[in-house]
């Protein structure tokens, strides 16, 4: 197996292909796509389009943005509607308040969740945009970058590959040993063995995980994390440590993993089952749960041997 490694969007970036595959051009395409995506959607980069847009939040000045940011904003708006508001890109001020800060923004009062009604973005003229509240495209942005990079790899003729960007992954075709790509679900408590192993569909499958293992810190004497519940403006997901969702698209896998996480341990089973999602979750006691749709994809579970 050949592996190309780098770093983008605050996460490790890795492309794995069978040893016989010439993937130099593919890796360059992946790096290029992630650079363009980060320049469009990163809230950490001072010069990104999103930072420029966020600095004009609440003002009447409109901004003309690239196709990538326009598509990302449309996807975030749709995700907000489909999840009933559980996925909300306007949580940036709440994130900032609990200490997960990105690029410098003008001071804005923390937006009460009740004011997050209505569209995320308003269109002005034929190409301009204005926003009322600063936006975070972190999770869905990385999922979209994986989606777009995957398309470029396919256009270059790569049929068997694994593309990883932090917790978001996309696979196509067969693994180097000619079997399925096998993805481990990290133990959020740091154990070396995975909690379970997913056998990925050769036709193409994506996996995303929302976890509080890395981004967790103390603020005002309490333990907080970066997954903000729009209903309260506070860190959510009571009783859960991590949620993994598999599906055909990395951006939507990311949306659902975050949305299910914010529902908390009491609601995740019913909600994931009712939506037919292939989802795995680990609660505060370390217990692994999964939906009926996830079971056939599960090749191995810790404790079951």
């Amino acid at each position: 197996m050949r592996t190309f490694e780098g770093r983008a969007m605050g996460s490790p970036l890795r492309l794995s292909v069978p040893a016989t595959t010439d993937a130099e051009a593919g890796w360059r395409a992946v790096l290029d796509e992630f650079e363009l995506s980060e320049e469009a959607m990163s809230r950490f980069r001072e010069t990104s389009e999103l930072t420029r847009l966020n600095r004009l939040a609440g003002k009447t000045d409109s901004v003309v943005v690239s196709g990538r940011l326009r598509m990302a904003l449309a996807a975030a708006e749709r995700a907000r509607r489909v999840t009933g508001g559980r996925f909300e890109p306007r949580v940036l001020t709440a994130l900032d308040r609990v200490g997960y800060r990105g690029a410098r923004l003008p001071w804005v009062a923390a937006t009460p969740p009740s004011r997050w009604s209505g569209a995320v973005v308003r269109r002005t003229g034929c190409a301009g945009l204005t926003i009322d509240h600063p936006i975070d495209l972190g999770g869905i942005g990385k999922g979209l970058a994986v989606r777009w990079a995957t398309r470029r790899l396919e256009r270059l003729g790569l049929s068997d590959f694994l593309l990883e960007a932090g917790g978001d992954l996309m696979t196509r075709g067969a693994a180097p040993d000619a079997g399925e790509w096998r993805i481990g679900i990290e133990d959020p408590f740091g154990a070396p063995d995975p909690k379970a192993v997913i056998a990925m569909d050769p036709a193409g499958a994506a996996v995303a995980t929302s976890s509080i293992r890395v981004h967790q810190w103390r603020s005002d004497g309490r333990l907080v994390h970066h997954l903000i519940d729009p209903a309260t403006g506070e860190p959510g997901g009571a009783g859960l440590q991590a949620v993994t969702v598999a599906g055909p698209d990395p951006a939507w896998a990311e949306v659902w993993s975050k949305s299910l996480f914010l529902g908390g341990a009491d609601a995740i089973g019913d909600e994931a089952r009712s939506r037919g999602l292939a989802a795995w979750w680990v609660d505060d006691s370390g217990t692994l749960g999964m939906t009926p749709a996830a079971r056939p994809m599960t090749a191995w579970v810790a404790g079951e041997g």
Binding site: G10, R14, G166, R182, E186, D193, P194, R213, H215
Partner: protein, 140 residues
């Protein structure tokens, strides 16, 4: 001559009397007919009401007949259910007796069974290390 004149007078008198009688009779008949019509007309509402009461009675009788039939069916069904309940009660009693018998035998079973000692002659693989191509987890 006098006799013939008397006969004519007598005939005239009889004819006149008959005419007067017929006129009087016709008048009486007419008056009687009008009185009968008035009586019939006056009694018509009562007759109609009597007819309606008779029709209602017929319907009520029909309903009572239907209710009687239904009661008969329900009574028959109840008899059948009662019979089945009796049979079920017998079955439950038999099951209770069987459970008591099993419980009694279970109570007589030994608390420990001495198993023969086994000797392991081949190594047993306890765990299999899982191989993954990548891991999904917290990003950053």
């Amino acid at each position: 001559m006098t006799d013939r004149r008397g006969i004519v007078r007598l005939a005239t008198l009889v004819g006149g009397s008959a005419g007067l009688y017929s006129i009087a009779l016709a008048t009486v008949v007419s008056l009687q007919s009008q009185a009968d019509a008035a009586t019939i007309s006056g009694r018509q509402p009562v007759a109609d009401a009597i007819g309606a009461v008779e029709a209602s009675n017929d319907r009520l009788e029909s309903l009572l007949g239907g209710a009687s039939d239904s009661y008969g069916h329900v009574a028959a069904d109840y008899e059948a259910v009662a019979s089945a309940m009796t049979s079920l009660d017998d079955s439950v009693n038999a099951l209770g007796a069987a459970v008591e018998e099993v419980s009694g035998r279970a109570a007589r079973l030994p608390g420990n069974i001495a198993l023969p000692r086994l000797t392991r002659s081949a190594p047993i693989q306890v765990t299999t290390r899982v191989v993954v191509h990548a891991t999904t987890g917290a990003s950053g």
